[in-house]
Point group: C2
Chain length 307, copies 2
């Protein structure tokens, strides 16, 4: 398989020559968002112009983000507010993935879903017709540790979805852990396991990997991961776009999620240094990395520069 060969060979820096070849041989670009399109609420330089150019060449643009705090609808609003016209159905977020995972697995509609995470997961679950508990509503709750008091949980919860949650607390951890441990067959779904993310422009913050690990630590169970690097979302993408994965290029700032997702799915891959991984760390470690991108460059805008 072509992609298998690429992933084993060493990575190439993006250049005038190979950028043209890449763009010509690809019909769709899949972009991660945090650290690629923006950092927190700040656009990364040159992104709108690059996306315009790719669209003008007839390329499909798709946005695949592990950040579950927003729904697809809210992401579309964010893109618009930053001056980038993107449709809701071009966005594949891990919040959407969690809801779709339940849907394609015929999760019983009468069961409930407990959420350790933010608004985006709740909105996607509700759009898919499921009843969600927890999330922001439990953000200020504190359990009392008293004799003869039982911390009650809903026995009809059949799935716990865990994503990035800046209001993580002991109440939610106990609630989620009880459902997973005590409700027979309760699913444990992680939107993703990113250790960190650029929630603000100036620095990284704990990612969903932090909250997911906390639930693993409390339950000693491992989750089903629906975001990158899992290729679960690829089926939805392929339904929408009639393009083979070898004619897609995944562009991301993380090796363990974005680039691995691209490789797992059989896409071309481009690592950018505008997010979590910086060039010097990549160069220092490149020979020891288990995941190698096909190409690497500073930022998405280099595609515009070279093509």
């Amino acid at each position: 398989m072509m992609n298998g060969e690429i992933s084993k060979s060493s990575s190439q820096q993006l250049s005038i020559e190979n950028a043209k070849e890449l763009v010509n041989s690809v019909d769709a670009f899949l972009f991660d968002c945090d650290g690629v399109i923006w950092k927190g609420d700040k656009l990364i330089d040159g992104v709108p112009q690059t996306l315009d150019m790719l669209r003008s060449l007839g390329k499909k643009l798709v946005f695949v983000t592990n950040n579950s705090t927003k729904s697809r609808r809210k992401y579309a609003e964010k893109f618009h507010s930053l001056g980038i016209p993107v449709n809701e159905d071009e966005i594949f977020s891990s919040s959407f993935a969690a809801a779709m995972y339940l849907k394609v697995n015929d999760f019983p509609i009468e069961k409930k879903v407990y959420v350790i995470g933010e608004e985006g997961i709740l909105e996607e679950l509700e759009l898919a017709g499921f009843t969600a508990l927890g999330g922001p509503a439990d953000g200020k709750k504190n359990p009392e540790l008293k004799s003869n008091c039982l911390f009650e949980h809903d026995k009809s919860v059949g799935a716990v979805v865990v994503g990035l949650d800046q209001y993580i607390n002991f109440y939610k951890l106990q609630y989620g852990a009880l459902c997973i441990r005590e409700n027979p067959g309760c699913l444990f779904i992680a939107t993703n396991r990113d250790a960190s993310g650029h929630l603000t422009d100036l620095q990284e913050w704990p990612g969903a990997g932090c909250m997911v690990a906390a639930v693993c630590g409390a339950t000693q169970k491992e989750p089903i991961v629906v975001g990158k690097p899992s290729t679960f979302l690829m089926d939805f993408l392929l339904q929408k776009y009639n393009i083979t994965t070898s004619r897609m290029c995944m562009v991301g700032d993380r090796l363990d999620t974005d680039i691995l997702f691209g490789q797992n799915a059989g896409c071309r891959t481009l690592l950018v240094f505008s997010g979590v991984v910086n060039e010097s760390a990549f160069q220092d470690l490149s020979k020891e990395l288990q995941v190698q991108p096909e190409f690497y460059t500073n930022s998405v805008s280099d595609i515009l520069k070279y093509v």
Copy 2:
């Protein structure tokens, strides 16, 4: 080694015959507390009488707890309030272990320690002469995720200690993760990794393993564990009591911490079913368990019954 042989053979139920042999061949009993002596704030039936009997036979009693929420002083107060006379220096808590780990490793006194945990860790650190930050003081803080705002952390933090924290939040997780990631040489110390514990009498709650995993998930680093099953505390115990470990018996309710600690240290071991592990689960799984206690019984009071 005698202990190695015992741990490989199958476990025996405690009986009149082997209980007498065990008590006669042992000079010190090491007890876990949560699920062995008490559940939450309730004593387990027959415990005071059993401890009195063992003391009257001249046995040393030692209490080795992974629960870091209290200092040794506070544990002594809790024992007294429950009508059990125990001295502070008979208690070896993981909060004490964290402070002693820094002390024996010559942690520089001018550096600070950031705590994700409760009062017990702070008190032990301060008793050992260290400056501690975080803990309960950061329990109600919420970071703002805004553009151009940098979440600042103290560059003189040289160690992050993580234990059970019922006030775990995103602020503490970001603070601890930043210290571990950005302060050169910063230690990451876990009091213990228990998945759960009987914080109340009626049910289990997420244990320190939950908070420790969250920090691992955010930093992708592994901690130094100072509580059980690490035998770090055994050196302090041996300094105090001139008893070889083969003449000690570790009594606990958890295989992966208590019994493993006893085996790692070369002690006899007794599993009780008054806490996390119940008899039917133990019997169902006993052949597949990697950690096998030498003896098992319902509760500590069976020692009194059989001897």
